[in-house]
Subunit: 313 residues, 2 copies
């Protein structure tokens, strides 16, 4: 038997067939199309599953379950997708509709929760019973695993670390509030800090690496300039690490999981991110003379979405 | 059979006998004494249990278990109290020592966790499987209940909401960091805000109610002046509620428990605290068009320590 994992993204929908050893044995993709009726959107996804199964020499009878990770929230009870802005979905009966085309058990979960589950089952936090996964990209996503299971909250709205307040009356957030954690810890935040810094320090290597154009600055630009010893970049990066360390320490003070896993684009910096972060975290932890959670970089990368979705039950 | 709950405080140690209907049938107290050897401290507590049991017409054979709530942290595995500053305890073998005097199953837990358990078993959050208890006093304590059990973290250092960061580079905290949540949401924080406000507005009723002496200002002073319509007090209280709403909303965004329970001295303000808070919380919750956790005032008061400790297992 295989389990199907589906990763719904803004540009494409990835389908993967996962065997009992938690390996992806076949993948398929279908471009995301949003300007068609909901039922047709769902049929395209189900068709992609069926053709992927077929191309692997399998039949629908070989499918045990179908799991779907979405950038949004869903109800485990009803199988309704409550909100998935990228796809233009609001209160849509996903499970019911999908089963018209492929009648298997269908599970739907937020994509950061799915990635948290994937890492805790088959990734860097495998073998632990509690972990918090933090994905550092355009925003900050997070997923909480407690007693080996996703903790999405009593009303399905938890796991949104990015929108906890880190700075009262701070930087305005896309959500309408001020001072949300993701405004200080995401790639977007690092880029904002760099842009502000080069306004004061136009001689900075950040700007020259970006070809002299402020809007070309990326997270990697700051890493590169900082590695090269550019004082402005070093200072921007120091500040960014300090914010992220305070965010991670807050997770430790409140939840104290076995492991904290960092994923997303910024985590690709590897030890250049992890080493200074791990050095700085303890100073913000209340009981810092005790054993602390281990902080690790995610290992499953883009496969986390498929693997985690396939593990939903 | 009865269960014994012990509440260890800075001035006194309270012992309670709790029956199978989760009612306290007898209480005893012994003053806290810290300048005697550890083993004598423990013997005093055990003696208080024995005399309380005796005074209720019972014998040690009637005791099923002994639970202890401490303002500190302990190891569930070893029964060691790792840190309990009030009592001067650091890495003391509490369970082992206590059982020399009374050989029963002994469980030790942080006092905010104990109160969280008490409310979730016999108080305002009874019948729920997840809740976060926040005690608002000199500092901010908290306890997390998930799947009906205390979640103290993988290393026993979780549940410290008061030392998560709410304001980067903010007000210095007793823990050595800056901007900890308890510096904005505790009674101490409300008093600090009031003192700062009366410096600018010496005409405020806050100061006259405090007899003209800034150091006499208490949380209740601000409540009273605000209820009387004093503009400075109204503004201080508005700011305090805003900070607390952002703190509670952050708990919702991250953990989304069924219920959030507010305890401690400030919670005695009842609906004067709860009503404006509940009005303001949704604006800081990301998915605020969904059902949200119910926010309630604790009901067990000072009995929570004994009842919760007695329920430990």
């Amino acid at each position: 038997m295989i389990r199907v994992g589906i990763d719904i993204g803004g540009t494409g929908i990835k389908v993967g067939l996962v065997n009992e050893s938690i390996q992806i044995i076949r993948e398929g993709t279908v471009p995301t199309v949003i300007d068609i009726p909901f039922e047709e959107q769902v049929k395209r996804i189900a068709d992609c599953v069926l053709s992927t199964v077929n191309s692997a020499g399998l039949t629908p009878d070989d499918i045990e379950s179908v799991g779907i990770g979405i950038p949004g929230i869903a109800s485990s009870e009803t199988g309704e997708i409550i909100k998935c802005t990228n796809m233009g979905w609001k209160h849509v009966p996903f499970r019911e509709t999908f089963r018209k085309f492929l009648d298997k058990p269908v599970f739907i979960e937020n994509d950061a929760n799915v990635a948290a589950l994937a890492e805790s089952v088959a990734g860097i936090s495998a073998g632990t019973s509690s972990s918090v996964f933090i994905t550092i990209g355009t925003g900050i996503g997070s997923g909480i695993i407690i007693n080996g299971q996703i903790w999405k909250g009593a009303h399905g709205i938890g796991g949104e670390l990015g929108h906890t307040i880190l700075d009262l009356d701070g930087v305005p957030c896309t959500c309408g509030n001020h001072g949300c954690l993701e405004r200080y810890c995401s790639a977007t935040a690092l880029i904002r800090m760099a842009r502000e810094a080069v306004e004061k320090h136009p001689e900075s290597a950040i700007l020259s690496i970006a070809g002299g154009t402020v809007s070309n600055i990326e997270a990697k630009t700051v890493f590169d300039a900082s590695k090269a010893g550019d004082p402005t970049a070093v200072e921007v990066y120091r500040r960014y690490i300090s914010c992220l360390a305070q965010a991670v320490a807050s997770v430790i003070n409140l939840l104290d999981p076995e492991v904290i896993v960092l994923g997303g684009g910024v985590s690709k910096a590897g030890s250049y991110l992890l080493d200074p972060l791990v050095r700085e975290i303890p100073q913000y932890v209340l009981f810092n003379d005790q054993p602390l959670p281990s902080v690790r970089i995610a290992v499953l990368g883009s496969e986390a979405g498929i693997i985690g979705a396939s593990m939903l039950s």
